[in-house]
């Protein structure tokens, strides 16, 4: 009887690449953003230009306290100007015939709110760069305020829970779907519990950016802002996928495909129970959140049937 050695996932190969970031970053303990940044750089290679803004990621990308930095070219701008600044750099390199991967890297506050107009503009013009949103469902760097990806009912510092108000009253904006609806060459969702899926999407984005804008929306829960232990980040990511709260899909020019199917999804309450920002929700309020999550999932599912990716 022979024992077949378990084949190691190919995703581990990426971790052999040089890590351009210094050891020990100024992010909160357990923040999955750190993994996302290191992993993105390892998969995409050194010949990239990061474009970003004041945010959680800025504490790493801008450098802070002379200890936390990286070896990459980086262009920082204001939250209004990420997609446009990435456009300017990309266009100049195109003019001089240089093939460089420009990676805009922002939180949801930028891509969903204040930087949405230039992002939509860049998508419409089909600019040749990658835009990555790490979605932690709020303005975490400034102290956990509501953004337009904050889910319905969630507690933030600008949508507090009290006698008169019960957290965020709005369901939020489905930004990855909106980006796919721009019919850009590539739009996809990803998260840190599914690194092989993320790696494939990063590589595909690098290829697809030759045709135009490649957009990745990465679910990146915030231990500090959402209320969960620092060793639970990846578990929260996985549960978001398993409950259909954050389905993993990709779309090429508006044609959809699930990249990960959960045959028997867990109830959303399994996810909600892990996160303290939802712990005030009543049964009725949870029902609203369930409805929204189901609708979002059905929307993508419908698209995979109506406009399937070839």
């Amino acid at each position: 009887m022979t024992v077949k050695a378990k084949k190691r996932n190919k995703v581990f190969d990426y971790f052999k690449a040089e890590d351009p970031f210094s050891g020990g970053l100024t992010l909160c303990p357990g923040c999955p953003l750190e993994l996302l940044l290191r992993f993105t750089a390892k998969v995409l290679g050194k010949e990239i230009v990061f474009v970003g803004t004041p945010s959680c990621s800025a504490t790493v990308l801008y450098g802070q306290n002379r200890q936390s930095w990286h070896k990459l070219a980086y262009y920082s701008c204001l939250m209004t100007g990420v997609a446009s600044s990435a456009t300017g750099i990309t266009r100049y390199y195109r003019k001089i015939g240089k093939d460089i991967t420009v990676v805009a890297f922002t939180g949801d506050g930028c891509s969903a709110d204040i930087g949405f107009q230039p992002l939509s503009g860049a998508a419409e013009r089909n600019e040749n760069f990658i835009y990555i949103t790490y979605d932690n469902e709020g303005y975490m760097n400034t102290g956990i305020q509501k953004s337009s990806t904050t889910p319905i009912g969630a507690r933030t510092s600008t949508t507090p829970v009290g006698e008169a108000r019960r957290g965020n009253p709005n369901p939020g904006k489905n930004v990855p779907f909106l980006m796919a609806m721009h019919k850009i060459p590539y739009a996809a969702t990803a998260t840190l519990s599914h690194l092989d899926d993320l790696a494939k999407k990063l590589i595909k984005a690098k290829e697809k950016k030759k045709e135009g804008l490649a957009y990745l929306h990465v679910f990146s829960p915030c231990p500090t802002g959402w209320g969960f232990e620092s060793d639970m980040s990846i578990a929260v990511c996985r549960m978001a996928v398993q409950t259909h709260y954050f389905p993993l899909w990709e779309a090429e020019r508006g044609r959809f495909r699930f990249t990960h199917k959960t045959t028997r999804p867990k109830p959303l309450t399994d996810f909600l129970e892990m996160v303290r920002k939802f712990n005030h929700l009543s049964t009725e309020e949870i029902a609203l959140l369930v409805k929204e999550a189901e609708e979002r999932y059905s929307l993508v599912e419908g698209m995979t049937q109506l406009w399937p990716m070839a």
Binding site: V49, G63, Y75, S84, G88, Y92, P118
Partner: protein, 399 residues
């Protein structure tokens, strides 16, 4: 040596002159977004591109804020860039303008002067330009269509100069100049290339290099921040003499010059002087000519550079005059006067204690007529004689 080219006069609007100036400087990246009265500038550039005359990346953006961010980042990547705007378009750029100057990006931008909101005014005025005076940009002002074209060319030489490395805004009056068609001497491509060629011999400016650890716009805290602010401020100071020098070099190459930071028109023996900027300077010179014919010792100082403020040249030009008038085409809220008047008052100690009078005129397309100018000069002359005078006159409200 002056090598005069074969003159090629074309009838061009101010906007077309700006577009020709930009095209001749061969920018790599151009951001286009329309706003009255600037739209013709970008339409003209788009047609140059469509006709194969302009090999630039053309980005038809979704708003002015993106326009300024695109040209700034393309500049930091190493490119030569151009964009144009006006009025609230400029206001919508403001955060990006601070990025451009703080990054020391040699962006060249045309701003077609127009009134600012909230009273909607699709009409001329310099409120847009003066409202952005502390943005750290170099701001220059043209008087006519020829000067618009020439200033755009000079702006690249100034912005990209190694001792300067700052964005330059070329201003001209909306409506009065944007749509005015005049004969414009169009330089050849070779001449403009030759004029800008010395920029290539300078030490390279720092640019983004993919794969290299260079961050643009990192955290500048404490002394690091102060040092960069100081360097920015001193670069602006250096740009004054540099602008004079470039103006002289422009004469050598093209046979035209304008006086650099300011033009002194019949001021040498003048007893009173009126300071003007933009298209009204032409009217003022014409009035001065006719008054001179009647024996009046009057002159005009045309302000060509608004930021940095050419205080040394102005002090030299105005010292010894008996009284000074200033035409303000915008308002400094909170001071109840025009911004140019404020700035002149700030150097009045160096000029000497003489009456300085502010004439707020030309707001929202109220014409600065020859009669207005003649009345202003008369008031200044009366003040010079020791008669009581008003500090600030809102000219069109006096009638």
């Amino acid at each position: 040596m002056i090598t005069r080219h074969k003159e090629k006069i074309r009838t061009l609007t101010g906007n077309a002159a700006a577009a020709y100036g930009a095209m001749l400087c061969r920018p790599d990246v151009i951001a286009l977004y329309p706003i009255t009265p600037q739209s013709e500038v970008i339409e003209q550039l788009a047609s140059f591109s469509a006709d194969g005359l302009l090999d630039a990346e053309m980005v038809e953006v979704e708003g002015e804020n993106s326009a300024i961010n695109i040209v700034t980042s393309a500049s930091i990547a190493g490119g030569r860039v151009f964009t144009a705007t006006s009025s609230w378009g400029l206001a919508f750029m403001y955060d990006g303008m601070l990025q451009a100057s703080g990054f020391r990006a040699p962006v060249v931008m045309v701003n077609v002067n127009r009134e600012m909101p909230g009273i909607l005014a699709v009409s001329s005025g310099q409120q847009d330009m003066t409202s952005t005076r502390d943005s750290g940009w170099i701001q220059v002002v043209a008087e006519n269509c020829q000067e618009i074209l020439d200033l755009v060319v000079m702006a690249y030489r100034l912005a990209e100069d190694h001792d300067v490395q700052l964005p330059v805004m070329v201003n001209y009056d909306g409506f009065y100049l944007s749509y005015l068609a005049e004969g414009v001497n169009l330089p050849s491509q070779e001449e403009v290339h030759a004029f800008l060629a010395p920029l290539k011999d300078q030490p390279p400016r720092p640019v983004l290099v993919p794969g290299e650890p260079l961050g643009s716009g990192t955290h500048g805290i404490l002394e690091g921040f102060v040092e960069l602010r100081f360097k920015h401020s001193t670069a602006l100071e250096r740009s004054k003499a540099k602008f004079d020098e470039i103006d002289a070099l422009f004469r050598e190459s093209f046979g035209r010059s304008y006086g650099g930071q300011i033009e002194e028109y019949r001021t040498n023996d003048a007893e009173v002087v009126l300071m003007v900027s933009g298209s009204a300077a032409g009217t003022a010179k014409a009035v001065v000519d006719s008054l001179r014919n009647k024996g009046a010792k009057v002159g005009v100082v045309k302000l060509r550079m608004f930021r940095p403020f050419p205080r040394e040249r102005i002090v030299r030009a105005l010292t010894g005059k008996k009284a000074i008038g200033i035409v303000d085409r915008s308002v400094s809220f909170g001071w109840n006067c025009g911004p140019l008047f404020m700035e002149l008052k700030a150097i009045s100690e160096e000029i000497g204690t003489v009456p300085i009078m502010d004439f707020i005129d030309g707001l929202a397309n109220t014409d600065i007529t020859e009669d207005h100018i003649a009345d202003m000069i008369k008031s200044v002359q009366n003040a010079a004689k020791g008669e009581p005078f008003k500090d600030v006159t809102w000219v069109s409200l006096e009638e």
